[in-house]
Amino acid sequence: MTLFRLVLRFASPRLPFICGGCRTYSAQTGAVERVISSFRSVSGDEGVSVGLAVREQHGRDESVHSCRPPDVVVFPRSVEEVSALAKICHHHQLPIIPFGTGTGLEGGVGALKGGVCFSLRKMEQVLDLHEEDFDVTVEPGVTRKSLNSYLRDTGLWFPVDPGADASLCGMAATSASGTNAVRYGTMRENVLNLEVVLADGTILHTAGKGRRPRKTSAGYNLTNLFVGSEGTLGIITKATLRLYGIPESMVSAVCSFPSVQSAVDSTVQILQAGVPIARIEFLDDVMINACNRFNNLSYAVTPTLFLEFHGSSKSMEEQVSITEEITRDNGGSDFAWAEDEETRSRLWKARHDAWYAALALRPGCKAYSTDVCVPISRLPQIIVETKEDLIRNNITGPIAGHVGDGNFHCLIVLDPNDPDEVQRVHSFTERLARRALAMDGTCTGEHGIGLGKRDLLKEEVGPLAIEVMQGLKATLDPKKLMNPGKDRYGLWIGLQSVVYILLVYRMCPAPFSSPRPLCCPRPLFPISFRTQGDRTGSKCRLNTHVDKNTEYVEGARKRDVFPKPEIRCWWFWREGAG
């Protein structure tokens, strides 16, 4: 399908202007030079790059999706530059893809339709720290670890910990979560205000400029509309985040269980007992085995819980003893806990190195992490069914999960050069997501929709919700420039092109040598031509206004020859170019 369209595109005479509605934009054509020079006038010479290496770097993230480089990468240094660049893109109908650190796991930065990548790493200031109010405002270049390092003297920290050293505004865009979510929440609960640049360059403050109350009931919750929008509604240029005090004392513990059910039961009871648990991580027996082999540990090869408690040092002993009792009642064994840094790291080493331990199971292979979330009570059932599925399909997939939220990941290790395995893994992930949806869950707990889960989103929220989302998207980004291809009807683009081609095949009468927009899918080889009636200036179904006295060639009916008229193609005139 894509190949067919590609052939069409390259078979048609190309013109140096950009088509509205669909992007066909090549770094080699003349109009690009105009646009690039206007980019350079905003960002400076070093702020714009068309080098292949830079573009490829900005076309991939840490997912298994292939690299889709943009056509240009710009490096704005302030929100005014972002706004000016966005205005230029809006005027020239260029897709806009925001880029933070490229640590996403769902292919959200791939430039499916080319366009301009806004790499925001030069905006790396921490602004407005208010220690007594527990909030801070950051720019997109500030990563999680650098913010926590900046805050280290204040006793505050930002606890959302997705693992990677991700950009905080990027975490807001994908609504990231992490191991600490059970106690501190995800990004949705911890973003107070956002400054967003919309597709037409408007700068929007979602909760009002400079406002940072801890709670508000003023108007619609625009902040949380943009959190999780994955760059499809606007470019986030500032985020005001909620901070927490670094707890006085942290205690880590490990406990083995005879079954998944007993591990999850313990989790539920620990939460019910009101223990200030900050992390509950679940590793299944395959994962424990991998960790034992990777780190030379000797944990019992059964489902295991890794726990971490945050609180005051006096209360720690009490919390630990309550937890030990709960785990013992559920059949847990080998309960070990520690308070000092070194022993804690040793206890948690298995969990920290889980990704690498999984990779080490099959050296030379790539790893892909699934991500579903279900209500906690359904977790044992889904994990058991998933493990059966893995065994049945001969897939290597150790499981690690944030069991306190009902969220788990299968770290599937696969050989990307084996198409059969890739296919099996693909259908496994679809089945897994559908299984989660059937249990009142979600197809993505923390990674986002990205490229691979658009159909699953439709199944999850239903067509009405998709329509509402589309309406919001149409309001905020009517030209569909923000991160295209990730919008909800990605699959339809392919079908639409088939429809266009079929229609145009039959309908468009303009000669093949005439100037036509790049996106016009008319093929080069002869087709038969049909008019709608014989009136002067008959219109084809695609609104092409054609003069009666025109010569048509290649199989179309010949008429009197007159000087060639202008073809007013619908796409042509939308652009406004001559």
Partner: protein
Amino acid sequence: MSGRVLVGVKRVIDYAVKIRVKPDHTGVVTDGVKHSMNPFCEIAVEEAVKLKEKKLIKEVVAVSCGPQQVQETIRTALAMGADRGIHVEVSGKDYETLGPLQVSKILAALAKKEQADLIILGKQAIDDDCNQTGQMTAALLDWPQGTFASEVTLDADKLKVVREIDGGLETIKIKLPAVVTADLRLNTPRYATLPNIMKAKKKKIANVKPADLGVDVSSRLEVLKVDEPPQRQAGVKVETVDDLVGKLKEAGRI
């Protein structure tokens, strides 16, 4: 054996900040720039606190020399677990020219006054990279020194120090009182937790002037000029070996 450890902490420009040279080339821009405790001093404080937690020593005293702002740095040390602080007031011109020699004289005087058994310092500061204060302090006090320590073990009045040297690791045993300077791999400093920062506000910081200790802080050094390192020039690709030889000859290298 008083069981008292003196830890020196220095307030420097934060390691994550991009340094800019002042337009008049007399120094670097420090106004409005984020400052924090020198990372090696953090490691030194952490080591002292660890020794106290193991009950091998009784008291940890954090010392810093400088203007009013260094009190923040001392408070961070107190939040990490030090018991009390000493702020040696040096400001203005004296502070700009304060170097390892003056600081080591101050520390030596304080060590005698407080009857400290052990002085733990960071191996060097990240602003001047001198790596001299620990060694000078030991010389002034005539105490043994264990520098570039990557492991410190205290038992009774002997200290076993594993030092990181060019050839590898060297283990020495020195008698207390002694001076130790901390290297990177000694430990991982803890974050000052918010409750501890609150508690640290109640701990005492004593104010002392260098004159009270009988130390003259005037410097015999004068900074003439501060420059940025030269900008990196673009490289040149050559096609053949002969071109390469030609270019090297041009540049006078061969």
